[in-house]
Every structure is written in C-alpha cells, then in structure tokens.
C-alpha cells in the first residue's frame, strides 16, 4: 500500500486501558454528588434539575433491575424513544451491567426495527411509550431473542396485558430491592468491566446497503471524547441540549463521552416540537448537529427577513454585510482593522446579538456540524453572526469524529485537521483512511465487511479526498458519488446541492450530471416558504404537487438556481431542472434517517425522469405506483414540467 499523504496530531491525554464509561460515571457521581446538576428535563413548562446523586440512584435501580430480569454481561439492550433522562439512564444502566447498548431511530419503520432487533440479538427492548411498544409487539414473534419490552410513559398503556411488557418503574423497583439487600452490587459489577469491552452496537444509516452493526468499545468512546475535548475544552459548568436522536453517534459523543469526561449539564426538551424554543431558553455553550439543523436556522432567519418591515430589512442587510466582510477577513487570516472592528461591534449590538438569541446561540462557544457537508453559504452566514461554527468529519466506525476545524483556522471547503491521537492518510486511489485508538473493533456478524474496512489497523472510509497545503483534509464525497463533468473534471454533486439548499425556497435537491453533456437538478420546494410567497402573489394552489408545478414557482426556482450557478465553472452549472411533485422522504427510502440523499436509490426510482431531463422535452408524464405506510398502493399520474435555467449574466 502506498500512502501518499499523511497527517497526524500528537496527544497529551491518555485514557487508561481499563477505564470504562461506567467507571467514569461512578467517579463523577461521587465527585459531584447532590450539589451539581447532571441533567435537566423540561416538564410541565419548568426545567427540573436532576442531581448526579439521583442520576446515580436511578441508573443503579435500572441496572440491578435488568440483572434481576436476567441481563447477562454482553447481552444487547435495544432502546427506542425521544431524548429524555430515562433514555440516558437506561443506556448507562446497560453499560454498568456489562451489557451492550443498541439505539434505534425513533421514526424507524417496522422492517428496520425488526432487522436491527433480530440482527443484534437484543434480549430487551426499552421503549418510551405506546407508539414504540406497538412497534415492539408487532415484530416480537419475528425476533425470537427478544424477551422483554420495557416502557416508561404510561400514557395509553392502560389496556395492554401482554406478558412480555414491563414498566420501567417495576424494573426500578426490582433494582431497589436488590440494592437494599446488597448496596455494593453495582460497584462490583462496574469494576468487572474493561476498556476493551464492547459498549455500543450502532447501526450505520447506510446510504448504500443494509445497515451494518458497528461495535464500539468503552475505550473507543472515551478516547474520542478526550481527544475532542483537548481541541475545544468544555467546562463542567457548560450547558448542552440533547435533542438529536441518541441513535446518532454525534449525540452519543456529546451526551455520553464528552458529557461524562467533563460533567457538563445535559438538558432535555419537553417535546420534540418544542426543542428549538427550549434550546433558546437554555442557550447552550456547545452543540453538535447535522447540517439540516443549521440549514433550518438559516432558513428561519431568511423567511423572517422576507416577512419583516423595510427598516428591519435594511438593518439586517447592513449588519450581515459587515459580518460577512469581517468573517471573510478571518477566514483569510488577515488582521481585522479597527474600523471594521467598531462597525462589527455596532452590527453585533444592533442585530447579531438579537438574532443569535432567537436562534438559541447567544452563549455558544463551539458549534459543530457533521454527518454531511454544510454549504459554504451557510458556513459564512453563521460566522458573519460571530458563531464559531466548525466542520467535523468522522464515521460511526471511528466513534463519530476524527477530524475537526481549529478555532482560528477555519476553511469552509475543508473539514479541518485530525483530532489528537489520530492519523489521517490518503491511499493512492485517493481514499481517506484513519488510524486512532477510537477505531471500532468490527461489524457485528459481518467479517467480510470488517475485513474490507479494517486493514492493518487503518479504517478505510470509502470517502475520497486529499490533504491541502495547510494540512487540512478535504473530503470530496462518497467515492462512488463523485461525478465526472463533460470536460473530464471530477465534481461533487453534494456541493451543488448544498448551494441550492441555501435558497430558502429549496428544501432538497438532487443534482445529476455524471458523464452527461450538462448538469441537471431535481428540486423539492419548501412548501411553507414557497406557499407563503405564492400567497403574497395571489397564486392559488391546493397541494404541494400543484404548487410545485405552477409556472410562477418554476420562475422563482429558476432564479434561485441561476444565483447558485454564479461563480461556478460553466460545465458545472445547472442547465435544466424540474420540481418534484413531492418531498424526498426517509419513509420512502429516498433519504437516510439523518436526511442524506440515497443517490443510488433515487437514480433507480426516478430513472425515467432523469432521461426526460436530458431528452429536451418540456413535460414529463409521470405514471407511478406508490406504497403507503399501511401497505396500500396508489397510482400517481401527473405531469412534471421541465425548464431550462437562464444563463447567468
């Protein structure tokens, strides 16, 4: 193997090999006791604190309760539900008892739940409430290993009599009895653990194939957290809001690894619908979210801007212009002259401060984005507001993160430098490979895939990229997703898509153009924003599909694409596009659960549509069958218009 390019960062922090997450948890609980708040949950409109002492007690009760019910070391416990303290307690309890935690996305469809439960050999499924219990019950007979289904929210559970159902309260009662008999049991259990034990079994979202089960050890998780904290130290007094799925490795990395290493306070929103307003109330110091959250924030600001009065609009534009100017100087590492600093201060006091407060970012020290690429326009937007937004790169297979921007060294076309203790290299094929103590031990029950991904201690990511002159890693895209333009130049469709998505009117986009004469795009409009725009113009519509096919909408989207085309080399410009009659949806397999486009799938599903885009016709007659969630089928017959994008001036 020829490794062309290699960058490594030394580390000064060592994690002892026998340290486990539960051991650290007991240390922190003893250290902080009842004086410090471990987590808060908003309940009944009030933030209710939970001290470390209570956290410990609850984890103890659940852990011992699960053991009484027959949990053995190495058993898998699957969990599904919203972010809530009970979810974190159960996960910690599983780890304390030597079990392996398996998180499912809450909106997983039955097939996925069944696949993961069956494949992981989970013996326990911990649900939040009725909805999840129903999922569990309906696939129980197909997962012979599943013994008990535990639930914690009693709402709607009154009529359930199935024997396999146990309430979390009952589990905790069992645990309490055990603890009263033998107060040291938990300690002994935890001491049996070793850093090399497997802690998590996480299923990758799989843009390409069946989900694969990633086995991560305690050591993997703890070293990753310690190394990230070496770059951007958090304080024990920091606040963090946990509202992204626990099944996402990024949330685990913050709530479990970093949270435990430092002991910052984890805040749980009241309901998923209130997450963003709860975020504002807390004003976290650190957050990690996939691009879609930042995209949504930008969109909120842009929409509010469209709706506001002329004075506010002028103030906003002026403040953003100053913000962008200063941010660009920082990106170029130029000194900021005092005149600009003064202007910047005025813009901050007048506009940015208020805006950041509304977004819940008023206290943010470090904001990370990861999981997919965030468009440069979004990046600049947040830096113009003075939000220290950084790109993270990593995979579930490396416990979530291997590369990150440094605070004073941000380039938005790169993902930054490796975190300490990590080596990144590029193979001669241009594939990014990584080596660190956080690299996983293998895929569960899948030695072929493991052998393909783990070679000589290196993790083969399947991503293509290179290391630039400043030692930053640049990630192209999934190797197979990079397209070749007509002039033979490689190009990333994702880059074009994120540019398109900077327009508030465009929710999703799919760019096509591999070995084609020119580039085209399939656009999903943002129903609420385009809808409001149409209301203002007096355009009538009754549904998403009707609105998407309006001539006015096409003109609007064409203008947006023309803006995105600006500063692109001519072969990379989008020439023709169509508005899809529906949004891309994870339930239709078009997106992953983390909302990444599943390119191979959409290519297959909308193949004829792509042909139409290149066939120089104005209308495409769509005739397709769709399957509803309950299995019903319906025929869709509709005409989709295809339009050319006007040349950029």
């Amino acid at each position: 193997m020829v490794i062309q390019n290699r960058i490594a960062e030394p580390t000064s922090r060592e994690i002892p090999p026998d340290l486990t997450i539960p051991k650290l948890f007991l240390q922190k609980a003893a250290q902080f006791g009842s004086n410090r708040v471990a987590m808060r949950e908003k309940e009944g409109g009030i933030w209710r604190p939970i001290s470390w002492e209570r956290y410990l007690k609850n984890v103890r009760d659940i852990a011992l309760g699960l053991c009484r019910m027959g949990l053995q070391r190495g058993d898998k416990v699957a969990m599904i539900g919203d972010n809530r303290p009970e979810g974190l307690w159960t996960e910690m309890a599983t780890l304390c008892a030597g079990g392996i935690a398996v998180w499912l996305f809450q909106d997983c469809l039955l097939d996925e739940v069944q696949y993961i439960l069956d494949h992981s050999d989970a013996r326990f499924l911990v649900c939040e409430g009725q909805e999840e219990v129903d999922k569990g019950l309906s696939i129980r007979h197909k997962c012979p290993g599943l013994q008990k289904i535990i639930w914690d929210d009693p709402k709607g559970m009154r009529g359930y009599t199935e024997e396999c159902l146990v309430s979390l309260k009952d589990v905790m009662r069992l645990g309490r009895e055990s603890a009263e008999r033998d107060p040291s049991e938990l300690d002994e259990m935890v001491q049996q653990g070793h850093g090399n034990d497997v802690a998590l079994l996480f299923y990758t979202s799989g843009t390409t194939s069946e989900p694969k089960g990633v086995l991560l050890t305690h050591h993997n998780m703890l070293t990753m957290g310690a190394h990230l904290m070496e770059v951007d130290p958090c304080l024990a007094s920091d606040d963090f809001v946990s509202f992204l799925p626990f099944a996402w490795i990024g949330e685990q990395m913050m709530s479990i690894s970093c949270g435990l290493l430092l002991g910052f306070t984890i805040n749980f929103p009241e309901e998923p619908e209130t997450a963003l307003s709860d975020l504002r109330e807390i004003g976290p110091h650190v957050m990690f979210a996939p691009p879609r959250l930042y995209e949504q924030m930008t969109r909120t600001v842009q929409v509010k801007h469209l709706d506001s009065g002329w004075l506010k609009r002028i103030a906003f534009r002026w403040a953003m212009a100053i913000g962008h100017k200063v941010a660009d100087m920082k990106f170029k590492k130029l000194p900021v002259p005092w005149t600009w600093r003064v202007l910047r201060r005025i813009a901050f006091e007048g506009v940015h401060k208020k805006l950041r407060d509304h977004l819940g970012l008023s206290r943010i020290r470090n904001a990370y984005t990861g999981g997919a690429a965030l468009g440069p326009d979004h990046f600049r937007f947040f830096h113009a507001l003075g939000v220290n937004l950084k790109q993270i790169y990593g995979q579930t297979e490396i416990a979530g993160i291997s590369v990150v921007h440094r605070s004073d060294d941000i380039k938005f076309d790169t993902v930054g430098k490796p975190i300490p203790g990590t080596e990144i290299a590029i193979t001669e094929d241009g594939e990014i490979i990584a080596r660190s103590p956080s690299v996983f031990v293998g895929y569960y029950k899948n030695p072929e895939a493991t052998a393909g991904t783990l070679r000589d201690g290196w993790l083969y990511s399947g991503d293509r990229g290179f290391i630039d002159e400043d030692g930053h890693l640049v990630v192209f895209d999934r190797s197979k997703d990079v397209m070749t333009l007509v002039d033979g130049r490689p190009f990333s469709p994702q880059y074009l898509e994120t540019r398109l998505k900077f327009s508030p009117y465009i929710k999703d986009a799919w760019v096509i153009g591999d070995r084609r004469e020119f580039v085209t795009a399939v656009v999903c409009i943002d129903y609420s924003v385009v809808g409001r725009w149409a209301d203002g113009l007096g355009v009538n519509y009754t549904s998403y599909s009707e609105l998407s096919q309006k001539e006015e909408t096409y003109q609007l989207i064409a203008a947006q694409i023309r803006d995105a085309n600006r500063d692109l080399p001519p072969p990379a410009r989008i020439r023709r596009f169509l508005n899809l009659y529906k949004e891309f949806d994870p339930d239709d397999d078009e997106l992953t659960r983390t909302r990444k486009l599943r390119r191979a799938f959409v290519e297959q599903r909308y193949g004829s549509l792509v042909e139409a885009l290149y066939a120089m016709v104005d209308v495409y007659h769509m005739d397709t069958t769709i399957t509803y969630e309950d299995g019903r089928e319906a025929k869709i017959r509709t005409d989709l218009k295809i339009r050319a994008v006007p040349e950029t001036g």
Binding site: G44, G45, K155, R158, G159, Y160, T161, E271, E273, T274
Partner: protein, 273 residues
C-alpha cells in the same frame, strides 16, 4: 388496542326525567328521559334540529325545562344556575368554539380553574401565602396533566385566535378539564376536524373516560357515526324533540326506527377500541 370497559358501574350519575321544553309553539323536547351511568360514554344522536344541543343546555343550566326534573346524584338541580352546576362537577364544550381568542392557551385553561380558587381579593392582590400556594398547585395540575394529556405543550403560550381550528378544539376540551369535572358534556367535539384530528380527539375522549386519573363520565353529541358507535357505551336517539330509542351501539344501529329517522343506511363501523 385497548380492552373495553371492564367496570361499568351501575350507579346513575345524571338523569333526566320526562323533560319537556317549548320555545313558543316549537316543541324542542318532549318527555325526554335519560339515565347516564357513572363512568360511561353516553351519546346523543339525531338529525339536525332534533334537540341534542337543547338537551345539553338543559343539563348545563343554560335553558330551564318547563316540565320534568334533572337529577345529579339523585338530587334535583333544576333550580341551580349554570355556575352552581359547574361547581357540582358538570363541564362542557361548545359546538362552535367559545374561547377567549385574544388570550393564550394557558390563560384560557387557567380560567377553567377559576372556580377552584379560594383565596380572597386582598391576598390575591399581594400574592400572599394561600394565593401563592394555590397558584402553584393549579399550575402543576394544568401544566402536567392537561397540557401533557392533550399534547399542546408547544403552543401553550400562543394566542388562541391564531391557532388552527383543530387545536382550538383541543384547548376548549382542556378548559373543560381544568374544572376537574365528574361529567363532561361534549357538543360535537369532532365537527370540522380532519381525519387525523378526529382520531386524536377520539383518543383523548377515551383517555379522559378510561384513564384512572380522570374517569370522567361523558355525554357526547356527535354526528360522526363511526366514532359514536365506536366510543359509546350507550346511544340515545332523538328526532324532533322526541326520543326514538336508547340502547347499546349495536342495538341502535340495527333499529329500523333510527335508520329511518337518521342513519339512512346499514353501515358497519370499524372499531377504535
């Protein structure tokens, strides 16, 4: 999936005995008798103008029947004013939403608890002792139980008039629940709701009826026969102020008189229980 009632108590909580009400020469109710048992969902059906809402108004005290007696727990309540009946545990919602549109969701629901406030003007003005304690208790009840039950946490501070119709209906139910009633009179709670909202509302009605915490007897006036037949323990059919029949949903569905007067066709309904 839930099991049907296992314990329908036999005790009659509300009864109408030969109640008649005329508006001039219009006979709105003629000799109507009804026995509502504790813990049941008792539906009143009938074509438009049959007198269903008039019956609810007689029960809640908005109308005074000229003849007949209305008994709550065996005691006549004919002479009581609406607010006195509310104090005895009768709450209601309206066919057309009757909320304070300029106030927030939380304030509307809070108003429903007004009856349970016992502190005086003076201590209220200075927010002293009992007032503060009361306020905290009521708040806990409203926030934790009602808002949680009806899943309206995300709109608690929104002004009611700005909310979609379906959510306003929920808020109205919330205000009625704030009274902590023993009987709730629901006047077309599903009218104007879309399919999904109907399912939610039907679920909430079942919840307040069956959940140990609430156990509220429901008198339901509704045109959505699917929901009526599915939720009700007993159904009472009315036509032009005259009772046609009363019985279980199955009996009423199969009654030729009811079919002729109202249902029109012999449809079977799927079950939500």
């Amino acid at each position: 999936m839930t099991t049907p009632h296992t314990t329908i108590e036999d005790e009659v909580i509300l009864s109408l005995q030969k109640v008649s009400l005329d508006f001039g020469r219009v006979r709105a109710l003629v000799n109507v008798s009804l026995q509502v048992r504790r813990g049941t969902i008792h539906s009143i059906i009938g074509p438009n103008g049959a007198g269903k809402t008039v019956m609810l108004n007689c029960i809640s005290g908005l109308y005074r029947p000229q003849e007949g007696t209305i008994l709550l727990d065996g005691r006549p309540i004919n002479h009581l004013k609406p607010y006195e009946r509310a104090r005895l545990g009768i709450a209601r919602t309206f066919q057309k939403i009757e909320l304070f549109k300029g106030m927030t969701v939380l304030d509307n629901i809070r108003l429903g608890r007004h009856m349970h406030l016992h502190s005086g003007v003076l201590s209220g003005a200075f927010y002293l002792g009992k007032t503060a304690r009361e306020e905290i208790e009521h708040r806990a009840f409203i926030e934790e139980e009602i808002i949680e039950l009806l899943e309206i946490a995300h709109i608690r501070n929104r002004v009611v008039g700005m909310l979609p119709y379906g959510l306003q209906k929920r808020v109205e139910l919330g205000r009625a629940l704030a009274l902590q009633p023993r009987i709730i009179l629901l006047d077309e709670p599903l009218a104007g709701l879309n399919l999904e909202e109907v399912e939610d509302m039907a679920r909430f009605i079942l919840d307040i009826n069956e959940e140990e915490r609430w156990r509220i007897t429901c008198v339901l006036v509704e045109h959505d026969m699917g929901v009526v037949m599915d939720l009700s323990d007993r159904v009472f059919a009315l036509n032009f102020g005259v009772p046609i029949m009363e019985g279980t949903p199955a009996e009423v569905q199969n009654s030729p008189a009811v079919i002729e007067a109202y249902l029109g066709q012999e449809d079977r309904y799927a079950t939500r229980r």
